[in-house]
Symmetry: C2
Subunit: 219 residues, 2 copies
Amino acid sequence: MSLPHAILTALLEKPSSGLELTRRFDRSIGYFWSATHQQIYRELGKLEGEGYIRALPAERPARGQKKSYEVLPAGREELARWTSAPQEPRPWRDALFVRLRAAAVVGTTGLEEDLQRHLTLHERQLAEYEEIEKRDFGPGRDSAQDRLQHLILRAGIDLETFWTQWLRNALTEFERLPDGGTSDAGAPDGGASEGGASEGGASGGGVPDAGGGAAAERA
Amino acid sequence: MSLPHAILTALLEKPSSGLELTRRFDRSIGYFWSATHQQIYRELGKLEGEGYIRALPAERPARGQKKSYEVLPAGREELARWTSAPQEPRPWRDALFVRLRAAAVVGTTGLEEDLQRHLTLHERQLAEYEEIEKRDFGPGRDSAQDRLQHLILRAGIDLETFWTQWLRNALTEFERLPDGGTSDAGAPDGGASEGGASEGGASGGGVPDAGGGAAAERA
DNA sequence: AGCCATTGTGCAACTAGTTGCATAAACCCC
DNA sequence: GGGGTTTATGCAACTAGTTGCACAATGGCT
């Protein structure tokens, strides 16, 4: 549950209204935790209800009227608590890998273009991050805050670097592949051929699964 | 919407029951697209309703009775369609970065231990992947399927490598930080100091936000 | 004065994923 | 043959996130 805490952080950095938050999320926090204005408004309501934030006094706090929030002490405490509490890392989930594995069964036709497109997007993002790094984290900027911020930016840069390299590698790999190919082959198609009842503890060291000894079920 | 397609892929590789699928997800597909048995059963029901898969004929398909599914032609077509259709990459979302940014405001106390713990977890995962690579993708294994599978595994290895390196780097950075520090400082606390109405187009190239010229709002 | 684009807040409905629990058959073991 | 564990399927309720839309105020234009 990171969104409320991302909002608390942003509000501590600077009290803001819902729309201001939305925009700040779009251009900076959203790089690692995106949110729509809907989510933000709803969350602001909840946070206010829980006594973590409060609306700054305004003249006419009506609909269509800007309403800014600031963090209350309880909110700051909650944020500190959450930040220091242990959390499990979430496994990396990406549809591209699912598609790649699907392609191994139904063929790679069409996938290549999209990989190429993703590569371009990631290159652009990488360039943007590097631009930011050059502009904001030159020598001299090394207060504690700057260093932590920089660390986050470095993660972004490294991740985009990973993507560009991996995608480039994937694309060269594709060129060496029988075109559109791999449409089937090797998949047992109904008949109870190699596996049957002996699932679970067969041949090698531990976890075979797709029959035929293929490495299909591990990576 | 990757889960139904991950299931179709798995079923094409080998017809399975719900629980078998759950296990296969646990140990291989789940590395990049995890799913609980609940999700899988629900999705199987849906896929069957849509005519993409069907239950293999069994004697007593009652509760507590194994029920295997296989993919129908329509399912294979849908999978091929989905695989080749363009999709947007999802932004990387990770609570750790939110916590790091929060730590820049409320202090780093307690975070370090958890970073250390994550490091250990990622090291373990990396070792596991490398083990799999050695076992399953040695020389010789280079059919089209193998190459695609290997590509996915490489992504896992590279990602875990990124994490271990980044976390190690973060931890050394922490050591050089004023202990537990950075508890506040620099956050404008209500008064309309530097920013005010001029949000949006101030000093440098484009997007300052937290006042004071700090790089706070970009990375 | 009338119109319309922009700014800002918000409801409602939906999709995806998680958690906790219920239940039934099979297997095993004494 | 009774009792506990394992295997297997599933319902219900919840949380998080997305999408589509409604509507109020404001400011500029003409």
